[in-house]
C-alpha cells in the first residue's frame, strides 16, 4: 500500500482531509422511516427491524450483481451458471477457468493443511514490499519482513517481529528527496507480543472478539459459514461499506486475501473461501504460472472499477497454498508508468518449535 509522507498541517488542511474522508451521498431514509414507524405503531419489538432491512438490501444487491455479470458474459469467455442452494443470491455467472482453478485449490487443501501440535507455534513470515510516495517527488518500495508466532493454544503468548531489510526499489526520486529518518524508521514497534494476539490495548483479541475475515478470531471461526454460498454472503457483507457495489468486489478479494494471509483459517474454511471467490464479479486469471519470489502459482486479479489500480493474489492451486499478493498501477500516473508494482507480499507458513525462533527454511 502507498503511504503518505508526514508533514505538519494547518487547520484548513485537516478540515479538508476530514471533509474528504466523511464525504458521502445523501441518504434516502424513506424506507427506514416507514419500517421504524410501522414497527413502533404496532408496538413490535425494536430489535427485529434492522435485520429485516439488511435482508431486503441484500436481495436487491444480489439482483443487481447477477444482472451486471450477465451483461459482461455476453462479450467475454464467461460461461456456466451456478446456484448455491444455501446462498441468498440469485444465480451468478462465473468465469469457468477461474472456478476450475479455485475449485482445484479447494480440493487439494486438506492434504496440505498445517496442524500445530500442542506447545508449538504456527510460524508466518511475510516478505512485504510497501510503497511510499510524494507525488512527482519520490516513489519507492521498501522491503519489510514480518514474522509471527501463533501458539497452538491461542490463549498463550503470541509474538510478532518486524524489520526493514534495507532493500529499496526506486520508481523515481532519490534518498535526498525523502524526509530524514523515513527510510529507517519502522511505523511501529519492532517486537510485539501478547496473549490472544493482543499487541496493545487496542488490538483485536483473537480469543474473544467477534472477528471478521481479515481478523479471524476464535468466536468468529466457530460461527463462520460452512458452505461456499454462506461464505460468499459473509464476505460480501463485510466488504460492502458504502451500500454500493463498485468498491465492494475489489474489497472482497482484499478481505479474502487478508484472511488467507493470516494463516489462521482452517482448511475447510479456506476451501469454501476459494469456491466463493470464483463468483466475485470481475475476478480474472492474470497468469497461470506467475512467479512470486521464486514460487509459482496462479494469479487472480481484481481491477478497480473506477479505472484505478489492480490487486492480485497468487495461489498454488495444486496444494491450495496462498503464496502472496501484488498491487499494480494500471495506468500512467505522472512519473509512474502503467504496470508499476506498488506493493508485494510473499507469505510462508510452517511450524516452529519455539516462539521467536525461525524454523529452518522459514
Amino acid at each position: 500500500m502507498i503511504s503518505v509522507p508526514r508533514a505538519e498541517w494547518t487547520d484548513e488542511d485537516l478540515d479538508l482531509a476530514l471533509a474528504r474522508l466523511g464525504a458521502g451521498p445523501e441518504p434516502d431514509l424513506s424506507r427506514l422511516r416507514a419500517d421504524l414507524l410501522s414497527g413502533a405503531r404496532s408496538n413490535q419489538p425494536a430489535e427485529v427491524q434492522p435485520g429485516r432491512q439488511v435482508s431486503r438490501r441484500r436481495f436487491l444487491r444480489r439482483t443487481g450483481l447477477a444482472a451486471g455479470v450477465a451483461a459482461a458474459a455476453a462479450a467475454a469467455l464467461i460461461l456456466p451458471t451456478v446456484q448455491w442452494s444455501d446462498s441468498t443470491q440469485p444465480a451468478a455467472t462465473v468465469n469457468a477457468a477461474v472456478a476450475q482453478l479455485l475449485n482445484r485449490a479447494a480440493d487439494h487443501i486438506k492434504s496440505t493443511d498445517l496442524h500445530v501440535p500442542a506447545g508449538k507455534f504456527l510460524y508466518i513470515r511475510e516478505d512485504a514490499w510497501w510503497g511510499a510516495i510524494e507525488q512527482d517527488k519520490y516513489f519507492y518500495v521498501q522491503k519489510n519482513v514480518l514474522e509471527t508466532w501463533v501458539p497452538a493454544d491461542w490463549h498463550d503468548e503470541w509474538l510478532q517481529k518486524r524489520r526493514f531489510t534495507g532493500d529499496i526499489k526506486w520508481i523515481y526520486g532519490t534518498p535526498a528527496d525523502v524526509p530524514v529518518g523515513q527510510l529507517t524508521t519502522l511505523p511501529g514497534p519492532a517486537v510485539m507480543h501478547g496473549a490472544c494476539g493482543m499487541w496493545s490495548s487496542d488490538s483485536l483479541n483473537m480469543c474473544s472478539a467477534p472477528g471478521y475475515w481479515s481478523g479471524p478470531t476464535l468466536p468468529w471461526l466457530a460461527a463462520v459459514p460452512t458452505t461456499a454460498g454462506g461464505v460468499y454472503d459473509s464476505l460480501y457483507d463485510e466488504s460492502n461499506h458504502e451500500g454500493k457495489s463498485d468498491g465492494t468486489y475489489p474489497s472482497m478479494l482484499l478481505n479474502a486475501a487478508s484472511g488467507l494471509k493470516s494463516g489462521l483459517l482452517p482448511s475447510n474454511v479456506r476451501a469454501n473461501l476459494y469456491r466463493a471467490m470464483a463468483s466475485i464479479p470481475g475476478i480474472k486469471i492474470t497468469d497461470t504460472a506467475m512467479d512470486l519470489d521464486g514460487r509459482s502459482g496462479v494469479g487472480f486479479t481484481m481491477t478497480d472499477p473506477r479505472g484505478a489500480g489492480s490487486y492480485q493474489i497468487v495461489i498454488d492451486v495444486n496444494t491450495g497454498t496462498f503464496l502472496g499478493e501484488r498491487s499494480l498501477m494500471t495506468q500512467q500516473d505522472g512519473r509512474t508508468p502503467a504496470g508499476t508494482e506498488t506493493g508485494r507480499t510473499s507469505v510462508y507458513f510452517s511450524i516452529a518449535d519455539k516462539s521467536g525462533h525461525s524454523p529452518a527454511g522459514g
Binding site: 505538519e8 498541517w9 458521502g24 445523501e26 421504524l36 414507524l37 413502533a40 438490501r57 461499506h241 484505478a308
Partner: protein, 177 residues
C-alpha cells in the same frame, strides 16, 4: 392511558435522521449506518418518556444514543477506517497533468492519513473530533451528547486536532475521560 410514543419520535426522525445518518455513514459506512440509525430511534422510542427537554436538545440526546451504540461497533469502525485508508489509495488520474485529478489525489492521500491516524486515537477523542467535524453539534451539544464537561470537550478536541495535524502525532489509544 400512556401516550403512544411514535409521533414525537416521528418528528425527531424527520428533523434529525438525515444528519445523524450522514454522521454515522462517515464513521462506519452507509450499510451499517442504516442499522445504527434504526437502532438509535428504537432506543429513543423506548426511552422517550425519560427524555427531559429541559436538560438539552433532542438532537444532542439522539447523537448521544447513536455514539453510544457506535461503541458497540468499535471494531467495525476500525475496519472501515482501514478500508478507507486502503481503497482510497487505488484511485489514479485518468489524464496526467489534470489539476483537478491531482487535487483529488492529494485530498485522497490526506484522507488516508487521517483514516490511519484515527484508528490509533482513543474512542472518546475520536467521538469528540468526528462529532465536531461531521455533525452540526456545537461544543456544548457534544458535551451533552457524550456526558462530558464542556471544558473537557474543548481541551480534548484541541489536543486531538493538534495530533492529527502534527508530522509526528502522539495519538493515545488509552481510554480515559
Amino acid at each position: 392511558m400512556r401516550e403512544q410514543p411514535a409521533e414525537p419520535v416521528a418528528a425527531w426522525f424527520d428533523q434529525h435522521a438525515a444528519p445523524l445518518h450522514r454522521y454515522l455513514s462517515a464513521r462506519v459506512g452507509t450499510h451499517d449506518a442504516d442499522d445504527l440509525v434504526a437502532q438509535t430511534f428504537l432506543i429513543a422510542l423506548r426511552r422517550h418518556e425519560t427524555f427531559n427537554p429541559a436538560l438539552g436538545e433532542a438532537r444532542a440526546w439522539l447523537f448521544g444514543i447513536a455514539t453510544n451504540e457506535l461503541r458497540h461497533h468499535h471494531r467495525k469502525e476500525l475496519r472501515y477506517l482501514r478500508a478507507q485508508s486502503r481503497m482510497l489509495a487505488v484511485e489514479v488520474p485518468t489524464a496526467s497533468g489534470d489539476e483537478r485529478v491531482v487535487d483529488r489525489l492529494d485530498a485522497d492521500a490526506a484522507a488516508r492519513r487521517v483514516a490511519a491516524d484515527l484508528r490509533l486515537m482513543s474512542a472518546v477523542d475520536r467521538d469528540i473530533l468526528l462529532l465536531n467535524a461531521w455533525s452540526d453539534l456545537t461544543l456544548a451539544q457534544i458535551a451533552l451528547a457524550l456526558d462530558l464537561p464542556p471544558g473537557t470537550v474543548r481541551s480534548r478536541l484541541s489536543r486531538a486536532r493538534q495530533a492529527l495535524r502534527s508530522a509526528h502525532p502522539q495519538l493515545s489509544d488509552e481510554e480515559s475521560s
